[in-house]
């Protein structure tokens, strides 16, 4: 009834409903900003959406099967919520922190991921998640395990203002390789720590200061300690629930949502600053716009990296994983003579993302050759028979400028990492640039306790 009576002036306009944009929209609405959030597509999530099988077919295949064939093989379409970008949440990571503080956990349920596995000499092994698993793990010899234990004790006892706990190492001066040397760790242990725990996708970190690696290993250990089986959490009904949850937060605090609303024109003032967007529903003004790269392609540049992702449907658990309902497999680069690791994220009907008896495996890596699909072969071999496969290549974009000049603040593409930590860094960075103050998370009031 009141659809014509829409406000035309806002504090912030957000374009695209990817998770980065939705978190920002939610945080800004909670801060009291008047937010208008628009998406050109008719569903939430943008690049970070979870889609149904029929949407997946029409996105990736030129001749999708008939509805009857598809349902005969894979069951009802509504049972499927397939992530376009594979990621897990670190249990102790920043996204979990934001979810808890904003109370978006009320709208989304999470499950622990059953295990993290690493590929070594043709086989996959579970990354130990506790002491018992560590002792029995065949990943390391007995002497190496002792050295590893010393290293982890150093990590957990390291205190910035307690110099003896540094054991003579300086996180900002020493490289990670020097740290490894100090603890006498061998090559295969270095690979294990750097790729399975610090989750670096290549070996560049070895010659860089140790601090980021230290922080990553600490995050990994704290995340594993939180729930026990693996450091990861995953939302029921797929990652696409996350943007929806934050969009709801934004709406509850007054944010206005318009899906299926393409931007016809972006209007700039004479001084070159953003002024308004024109859409089929009218012209909307705000001093600031936040958007994903697809809304301002001319203001973005390629990072030079391209990611290949293969979404695979299986009708069996992954061999050698004790029928785990969810897991991550890391194939370290050196094991397959590459520069970048290959990741496989596996979830199943236990997470309400596919129909009963099915498993979804998403393989991803940074492209190194001109035959990217061949690069994924080692991963396909691990998975066993594959029912259906959808492959796509994504170029990663980042903004050319910081947004101060024209008040157009752009997010980065979702990278090849297996978790959301770089995404939340981007959120905090944009938040700081837009508001002028760093993000401080406050607990929402609990209406039940009022």
């Amino acid at each position: 009834m009141d659809q014509e009576k829409v406000d035309t002036d806002y504090d912030v306009i957000v374009l695209g409903t990817g998770i980065t944009e939705c978190i920002l929209s939610g945080l800004l609405s909670v801060d009291g900003k008047k937010v208008l959030h628009i998406d050109k597509q008719d569903h939430y999530g943008g690049e970070s959406a979870s889609v149904t099988l029929s949407q997946l077919y029409s996105k990736f295949k030129q001749n999708p099967p008939s509805k009857e064939d598809r349902e005969g093989k894979f069951g009802k379409d509504r049972d499927w919520n397939v992530d376009l970008i594979p990621k897990f949440l670190m249990a102790n990571g920043e996204l979990t922190n934001i979810l808890v503080h904003t109370d978006v956990t009320r709208y989304v349920d999470f499950k622990q991921v059953s295990g993290s596995y690493v590929f070594k000499q043709g086989k996959i092994y579970k990354v130990p998640a506790n002491e018992v698993e560590a002792i029995s793990s065949p990943l390391m010899g007995i002497f190496e395990k002792r050295r590893m234990k010393k290293f982890l004790e150093w990590i957990s006892s390291y205190k910035e203002d307690d110099v003896p706990s540094h054991q003579g190492l300086d996180l900002d001066q020493n490289t990670m390789d020097e740290v490894y040397y100090k603890f006498g760790l061998g090559n295969s242990t270095k690979e294990f720590i750097g790729h399975s725990m610090a989750l670096w996708t290549n070996d560049d970190y070895l010659q860089q200061p140790a601090r980021p690696s230290y922080e990553r290993i600490l995050l990994y250990c704290q995340s594993v300690a939180r729930y026990g089986k693996s450091p990861y959490l995953y939302p029921l009904y797929g990652l696409g629930e996350l943007p929806q949850g934050f969009a709801r937060l934004s709406a509850i605090y007054g944010g206005t949502y318009m899906l299926d609303t393409p931007i016809d024109e972006v209007v700039y003032a004479d001084d070159g600053k953003f002024e308004a967007v024109k859409t089929k529903l009218g012209t909307f003004k705000a001093p600031v716009v936040i958007a994903d790269p697809t809304y301002f392609p001319q203001k973005c540049k390629s990072t030079g990296q391209r990611v290949i992702r293969a979404i695979c449907i299986l009708n069996h658990p992954v061999p050698g994983t004790s029928s785990a309902d969810s897991l991550q497999i890391i194939i370290p680069q050196s094991q397959v003579e590459r520069k970048n690791d290959i990741y496989i994220a596996i979830v199943s009907d236990a997470h309400n993302v596919c129909s009963k008896g099915h498993y979804l495996a998403i393989i991803s890596t940074i492209i190194e050759t001109d035959k990217p699909h061949v690069e994924l072969e080692p991963a396909f071999k691990i998975l066993g028979p594959i029912e259906e496969k959808f492959m796509g290549i994504a170029e990663l974009f980042e903004p050319k400028e910081d947004g101060f000049k024209d008040n157009v603040y752009l997010s980065r593409s979702y990278d090849a990492s297996s978790h959301f930590e770089t995404m939340t860094d981007d959120v905090k960075d944009i938040y700081f640039r837009v508001t002028g103050h760093p993000l401080v998370l406050k607990q929402r009031k609990d209406p039940e306790q009022e």
Binding site: M1, Y44, R248, I252, G254, M258, L259, D260
Partner: protein, 253 residues
């Protein structure tokens, strides 16, 4: 008394300004605000209701305005066990919209969702009966066709508001909810023509001899018309069953 608690997600749908939030406000705090502003800030209210021996906790989801530009997220309908589709009896347009929402619910929500069709603002008819633009019969007809509960309410006076939620509570399959959020009590409830079958899983104090997994199941059958006190204290017609099979069929006490 420690009643088992069943949480029910209930979603609100209906055109702007038909009184969705006012109905909830009346139900949750027995309050009414004249010229209430569009919803901001509180889109997740809860209210507990005791029905028979069961406590039902309604988790009420407001659309938070996201329905305005067809931007309601699939998350909104996800796992909703009940829905209130509200229209304004003085606005025929809002009844057309209600039809649309009923259709949308059938498509998007789970199959066994309980939908209550609610014609609100009947207080306006007291002053001037000609204000009515949607006949009661129209609402009843739609409810019958689509298998909905039907009420006419006034959030302003409170007329019939509690009844809507009580009726939904009586119709919700408690078994299913008990499986999910309240597994600890092991209570299953099935309703059959006014009779309530309860199946309660009891952990034996000592392991039974035949198999460690053995379960003891208490089955009670009581009629809804029995007085509350009688039902809770004597448990109606009780039958003990010791089930030594590993598999216990929960649906067939």
């Amino acid at each position: 008394m420690n009643n088992p608690v069943t949480s029910i997600k209930l979603v609100l749908l209906g055109e702007v300004a038909v009184g969705k939030s006012s109905i909830v406000l009346r139900f949750v705090s027995n309050d009414f605000a004249e010229n209430k502003e569009p919803t901001i800030g509180a889109a997740f209210l809860t209210q507990r209701v005791n029905i028979n021996e069961h406590t039902i906790k309604f988790e009420i989801w407001d659309t938070a305005g996201q329905e305005r530009f067809a931007s309601l997220a699939p998350m909104y309908y996800r796992n909703a066990q009940a829905a209130l589709v509200v229209y304004d009896v003085t606005k025929p347009q809002s009844f057309i919209k209600a039809r649309h929402w009923v259709k949308e619910l059938h498509e998007q929500a789970s199959k066994d969702i309980i939908i209550a069709l609610v014609g609100n603002k009947i207080d306006m008819l007291d002053e001037d009966p000609t204000e009515r633009k949607v006949a009661r019969e129209e609402g009843e007809k739609l409810a019958q066709e689509e298998n909905l509960l039907f009420f006419e309410t006034s959030a302003k006076t409170g007329a019939n508001v509690n009844e809507v939620f009580l009726k939904i509570g009586e119709n919700v399959p408690l078994k299913q909810a008990a499986d999910g959020s309240n597994n600890g009590s092991g209570l299953n409830v099935r309703r059959d023509n006014g009779w309530i079958w309860q199946t309660r899983l009891i952990q034996p104090r000592k392991p039974l001899t035949v198999a460690a997994e053995s379960l003891v199941v208490l089955i009670t059958k009581v009629h809804i018309s029995f007085p509350e006190r009688f039902r809770t204290e004597y448990g109606g017609v009780a039958a003990w069953a010791v089930n030594l099979c590993k598999t216990v069929s929960w649906n067939q006490p």
